[in-house]
Structure formats: structure tokens, C-alpha cells
């Protein structure tokens, strides 16, 4: 017979999990004893939140649920921000938390936190396991829920006595799940498909708006093929980066208030908008209602509840992105007119970027352009949050790599742990975390994790000694009353790199950029590069 903790490890093995991120404590210690006797590699992070972000980066590359493990109480509450981040971005994570002994639940004993209650609105589903015999079913369901339909994090809270208690039945991992309340498979409604076809054939100016759901549904290739077959131009949200390479003739940039003005103009000129896997939140379309009154909108999403949440579409279409575009590919659709593409090209040519950037330091636009051009074709670029994120999204040169960021929650400190997770899953892919000096300091404790586990993530800090995006907001909104945004001159990054035995690269001017980036990208180890940018440089 085996105890609950051993069963939990068996469940992970049955799911093919070989690596987990975590931080132990007493309430999860029996599970760690199980890990000790297993072949699963445990990566000890330096704070629980980063275990969640690392699992997020891992899952986004593996396209399967990744696992993070924490103890009860503060360990578990530290994880909540990462769960909320994964939930906002629909990333499949299975989070395991230790819990105080069942008979003590509700008594506010040492390190007790009601995790099911606390995470209610940040997870797709959660479990508090009270009987070790339930563990195989719960794990099977958790992985299934996390990875199907609209993906998302699932929490499994396991009291220590449940981990220690013997199962009364022989361990058997279920082959399938039976849940009355969860049926994620949606058959494509051909009636709706035909409406979409009719709308496309009527439209003279169709435009695709791709969101993160396209990538989560592994739909990049299918959507690319669809765009090309019917010559339909494409714009995307921040999370939808990666369907078309930047140089593609049908590519017209990122929309939204942080996107390309010509992408927004394209949205305004279109007569039919095909929104795919995007919730059209405020940052992408400021007033979705107005838009829906002006143009016909086809809204495609796996999550029925997204349809009509922010905007009433003309034609809703619920289902899996691959199924839907697979079905559409077989339909008789007239390709869009070349004159429409020409019109958008002209808009793009005539939209001038009036922003002026300082030449005292490194131009952040040039930095991101050069970096992403020099990076390997299939490299992983992880953008943090702040001005650095918007410069990244604005200038990133998409080839066949991945652009990861948290567009939904905008959690500072995401890039380093997420890059760590991505790199661990795909060691052959060059991985760069790009952050600001604010976001860097939110997860710089993970330099140790990179070092100890020899995970060669490259970290590039875009440094302006301020919380730049808030500073910019204060500039625009509060008459440049800068309050609580200055970071000053510390840490000394060279010494920090030295403290972690990491190669260090510094670049203070655009002239030095090529040489420094070349050396930084050629370095085989985890390494740190700092680029000085002018604090006066703004996103807008």
C-alpha cells in the first residue's frame, strides 16, 4: 500500500511530469519525501510566486499543464499572484499546496490559510482533498480541466494527514474523467460557419484580430494558412503575437492603446472584423461597444462567456480555433481584394511615428529591434511589465520564435521566472528575459535558481532608474509630479552579477549596442546585461 503523498507523486508520473517548481514547508513535507524517491526533478525557487510563473513559462512552451508546489499558509498565499496571472492569461497550471491537518481546518492554527476560498476567483477550479483515495481522480480531473477548453490554473490543496494516510484501495490512475458539469468539447456549428462564410464573401475589407487564444489553441499554423489562402490581413493583441512574422505582407501590427497606430486605423477602416481568441479588453479596444455598432464583428472563442462579455458580436462562433479554421478552409470564400491590402499598406506608410527618443543613452526601440533580429529564429523572448514590455511588444521582430508576456494581469517580475520555466522545458532554444529595473528587482532572487540549476537564461535589464510606466503616467496625468517612482542607482548590477558568478554586459549608448548584444547572445551561460535608457524616453 502507499500513502497519499506517494500517490500524488504517482499521479504526476502518470501525467508525464518530469520537472516541478516549488518551495517546501512542513505541511507539504510528506509529498517531498515522495519526490525524493521519484525521478521527478524539483527546482527550488526563491519565492513561491516564481514557482507559479516558472510553471507558466514551462506550460506555454510545452503546451501542457506544468506543476508548482507550495506549502500551506504563507507559502500558498505567496502563490496567489502567480495563479491570478495564469488565470488572466489562460495558462494551464496544476498547483499543489500543502494544508494543515484536516481535523484542524478552520481553527486558524499555525500556517493555515483557506486556499480554496482565497483563490476562488483566480483559478479555473480547485480541490480540497479529504480522502487519500480521492487523489488519483482529483489529479486526473485537475490536469484535464487545466488543459482543455479555455485553459487555466487548477489548485489541489492537500492536508498533511491526507498525504500521510494510507490509501485503502490499490493505486490506479484513471484512464478518463467523468464529470457531469464539465464538457469542454464543442462541435463546430456548421450553421454559424456558413454565416461567417457569407459575411466574408460580402465583406470588401475583412480584417483578422488574433488574440492569445490562437496560440493557446495551437492554432497559429492554421490561422496563418487561412490568412494566406484568402489574403485576409491580420492585426493582433499583445497576447496574440506570433501568428504571422513581422515581415509578412498580411501583417499589420499590434492594435490597442499600446499598439501601432496603423493597426488601430486598420480596425477603423475594416468593414468586417474577425476576432479570434481575444476578449477585447480595455487595452485592446477602448470602447468595444462603439466598434460593434460600426463594423460587423465575428467573434470566435472557445469560451462561450467571452462572447458578448465586452461587446455584442454580429456573429458568434464558439469552438476550438483549429476546428473552426479547419472547417473554414474548406469553404468557398472569395479572397480579399488586393486593393484593401494596398490601402492598409498606404495607411502604414503614411502613419508617421512622431515620437522622439533621446540619444544620450540607448534607444529602447533600437534595442528591442536589434536584440530580436539578432536572436535565433526560434528563440523565446520573455517581456516583463512596464515600459520595457510596451517597447518590446512594439518593436519585437517576430520570426518563428515565441513572445511571452503577461498581457492580462500585467504582473511585474514575470519575465525571469517565466523564462526559467521556458528554458527548462526547451533547453535548445535561446531564451531572453527582458525587464525593467523595477520588474527585475521583483524577481532577481531567482538569479540563484538559474545559477544553481545551470539554466542559461539571458537577462536584459532596460534601466532608467525609475518605475518608468508609472512615471510616464504621472507625467501625463499629474503634471510630472513624480511620487514613489524613483529607483536611484542601486543595485550595482556588475556587483550583483559577480555575486552570482554570472557574466555581465553593460551598454550605455546605442553605438555600443551591436557589439554588446553579440557578446551577450553568444554567452553560453546564464548572464546579465544592463542597457541604460533615458528616463525621459516614453512609450507614447
Amino acid at each position: 500500500m502507499m500513502n497519499g503523498a506517494e500517490a500524488m507523486v504517482k499521479c504526476l508520473e502518470a501525467e508525464g511530469i518530469t520537472q516541478v517548481f516549488g518551495y517546501p514547508g512542513v505541511a507539504i513535507a510528506p509529498f517531498y519525501e515522495g519526490l525524493y524517491h521519484s525521478g521527478i526533478q524539483h527546482i527550488l525557487v526563491r519565492q513561491e510566486q516564481n514557482a507559479g510563473h516558472a510553471a507558466s513559462g514551462y506550460a506555454r512552451l510545452s503546451r501542457k499543464p506544468a506543476v508548482c508546489v507550495v506549502t500551506s499558509g504563507p507559502g500558498a498565499t505567496n502563490l496567489i499572484t502567480a495563479l491570478a496571472t495564469a488565470y488572466a492569461d489562460s495558462i494551464p497550471i496544476v498547483a499543489i499546496s500543502g494544508q494543515v491537518s484536516s481535523e484542524l481546518l478552520g481553527r486558524d492554527v499555525f500556517q493555515e490559510a483557506d486556499m480554496r476560498g482565497a483563490t476562488e476567483s483566480f483559478v479555473k477550479h480547485s480541490y480540497l482533498v479529504k480522502d487519500p483515495d480521492d487523489l488519483p481522480r482529483v489529479f486526473k480531473e485537475a490536469f484535464y480541466i487545466a488543459s482543455t477548453g479555455r485553459k487555466g490554473p487548477v489548485l489541489i490543496d492537500v492536508p498533511i494527514d491526507v498525504q500521510n494516510r494510507e490509501l485503502t484501495k490499490p493505486f490506479a490512475y484513471p484512464e478518463s474523467v467523468t464529470m457531469r458539469g464539465y464538457k469542454p468539447e464543442i462541435r463546430v456549428n456548421m450553421g454559424q460557419i456558413h454565416k461567417v462564410v457569407a459575411a466574408l464573401n460580402q465583406s470588401r475589407k475583412p480584417l483578422i484580430c488574433a488574440g492569445g487564444g490562437v496560440i493557446l489553441g495551437d492554432g497559429e499554423e492554421m490561422l496563418r494558412a487561412f490568412c494566406e489562402k484568402f489574403s485576409i490581413p491580420l492585426v493582433h493583441t499583445m497576447m496574440g503575437m506570433g501568428v504571422l512574422p513581422k515581415k509578412h505582407p498580411l501583417y499589420f501590427g499590434m492594435l490597442g492603446n499600446n499598439g501601432k497606430p496603423y493597426a488601430n486605423k486598420a480596425v477603423r477602416r475594416a468593414d468586417l472584423l474577425l476576432v479570434v481568441g481575444a476578449r477585447l479588453a480595455d487595452r485592446a479596444i477602448p470602447k468595444p461597444e462603439n466598434l460593434a455598432q460600426r463594423v460587423a464583428v465575428i467573434h470566435i472563442d472557445i469560451d462561450t462567456a467571452e462572447i458578448g462579455k465586452n461587446m455584442g458580436p454580429t456573429i458568434p462562433l464558439v469552438g476550438d480555433v483549429k476546428d473552426i479554421f479547419g472547417a473554414l478552409m474548406a469553404e468557398p470564400i472569395e479572397p480579399a481584394a488586393q486593393s484593401w491590402i494596398d490601402e492598409l499598406e498606404e495607411v502604414k506608410r503614411n502613419t508617421l511615428d512622431g515620437r522622439v527618443f533621446s540619444d544620450r543613452f540607448v534607444n529602447p526601440n533600437t534595442l528591442v529591434q536589434k536584440l530580436s533580429e539578432k536572436m535565433a529564429d526560434d528563440a523565446v523572448y520573455v517581456a516583463d511589465v512596464g515600459q520595457n514590455q510596451l517597447w518590446s511588444a512594439d518593436n519585437y521582430v517576430m520570426k518563428s520564435g515565441r513572445f511571452l508576456t503577461t498581457g492580462g494581469m500585467g504582473t511585474m517580475g514575470y519575465s525571469i521566472p517565466a523564462a526559467m520555466g521556458a528554458k527548462l522545458f526547451a533547453p535548445e532554444r535561446q531564451t531572453v528575459a527582458v525587464c525593467g529595473d523595477g520588474s527585475f528587482q521583483m524577481s532577481m532572487n531567482e538569479l540563484a535558481t538559474l545559477r544553481v540549476n545551470d539554466i542559461p537564461v539571458k537577462i536584459l535589464v532596460v534601466r532608467n532608474r525609475y518605475l518608468g510606466l508609472v512615471r510616464e503616467y504621472q507625467y501625463n496625468t499629474y503634471d510630472a509630479h513624480y511620487e514613489g517612482v524613483q529607483l536611484y542607482d542601486w543595485p550595482r548590477y556588475d556587483k550583483l552579477a559577480e555575486a552570482y558568478d554570472m557574466p555581465f554586459f553593460a551598454c550605455a549608448h546605442t553605438d555600443e549596442l551591436d557589439a554588446t548584444l553579440d557578446a551577450f547572445l553568444a554567452c553560453p551561460d546564464a548572464c546579465l546585461m544592463v542597457c541604460e535608457v533615458d528616463s525621459e524616453d516614453r512609450v507614447k
Binding site: G117, S121, H125, R180, G181, T304, A305
Partner: protein, 157 residues
């Protein structure tokens, strides 16, 4: 507008709080909520009455459907279902007003559960509107306490 939802859910701990939490988080109103187990002890039935514009009511249905522990959501329209609510109400009375309250009970079908020197404890059931009407009727005598169950509803077909 009013939305009446008949929701079948897994009869497990945490489900009620998860449903209530959904309403709280997304700013939906709960006008009333009644929960009870069905003939299958693993399944509970909830009747949730909410109000809001068309989009809100549509969203409530979709968001309820997203919950893993929600088995089935049915949206009921008042015309096509029977709704019923029960109420216990203490109405203040004196020797002079008692007989007129008793007369009112006879007309409306309210049941007198307890007679006390200073009040009558009545049980009344009707659809939620009927309950409101009854409250208005006895208001003049002075209401000491009200307990309402919230509406339960069932489709006629």
C-alpha cells in the same frame, strides 16, 4: 429585467460559496437564493433570482455554466414556470385589530401559526409578487419580523 435560474450543482462543500462568490465578484445581484438537495443526494438544486439588463442576465447564465461543479443551468421565464416563496411574518395586533387580521387571513389563505397577546405569527406562501402584496396588506398593523425563503421555481412543461 428579472432572471430566474434553476441550477443543478454537485452537492459538495464549497459549491454554494463558489456560486455566491461568482455573483459577488462580477457585480451581479442576487434577489433571492434557495438551495436544497434533489432526489439524488449527490445533486443539489438552486433557484437563483437575479435582476439586471439583458446582457447581464445572459452573462450570468454563461458564467454559471463555466463552473465545473454546475451540472445544468436552466433559465426560466416567469410565464412558463411556477414560482413559489414562503414567508413567516409576525404581525402586531391588539384586541381591536385581531379580528380584522384574522379576516384578512381567511381571505388570503394565510395560516395562523401562533396567537400571542401582542402579535399573530402567520405563514403565507405565494409567488414573490403575492408575498409583496401580502406584506403591503398587513403593513398597517405593524410588522415585527419577517423571514422569507426566497423563491423556488419549476417549469410547467
Amino acid at each position: 429585467m428579472k432572471g430566474i435560474f434553476s441550477v443543478l450543482v454537485e452537492n459538495r462543500d464549497g459549491v454554494l460559496s463558489s456560486i455566491a462568490g461568482l455573483f459577488a465578484r462580477r457585480g451581479y445581484n442576487i434577489d433571492s437564493l434557495a438551495v436544497g438537495v434533489t432526489d439524488n443526494s449527490e445533486i443539489s438544486s438552486m433557484t437563483i433570482v437575479s435582476s439586471g439588463d439583458q446582457r447581464t442576465i445572459d452573462q450570468i447564465e454563461k458564467q454559471l455554466n463555466k463552473k465545473i461543479d454546475v451540472i445544468k443551468v436552466r433559465r426560466l421565464t416567469e410565464a412558463k414556470c411556477v414560482t413559489l416563496e414562503m414567508m413567516l411574518i409576525k404581525v402586531s395586533c391588539s384586541a381591536t385589530t385581531r379580528s380584522s387580521i384574522i379576516e384578512l387571513c381567511q381571505i388570503t389563505g394565510a395560516k395562523i401559526m401562533k396567537v400571542a397577546p401582542k402579535y399573530l405569527l402567520l405563514e403565507y406562501h405565494a409567488d414573490p409578487e403575492g408575498i409583496e402584496d401580502f406584506i403591503r396588506l398587513v403593513k398597517g398593523y405593524g410588522i415585527l419580523e419577517i423571514q422569507r425563503t426566497g423563491a423556488i421555481a419549476m417549469e410547467k412543461s
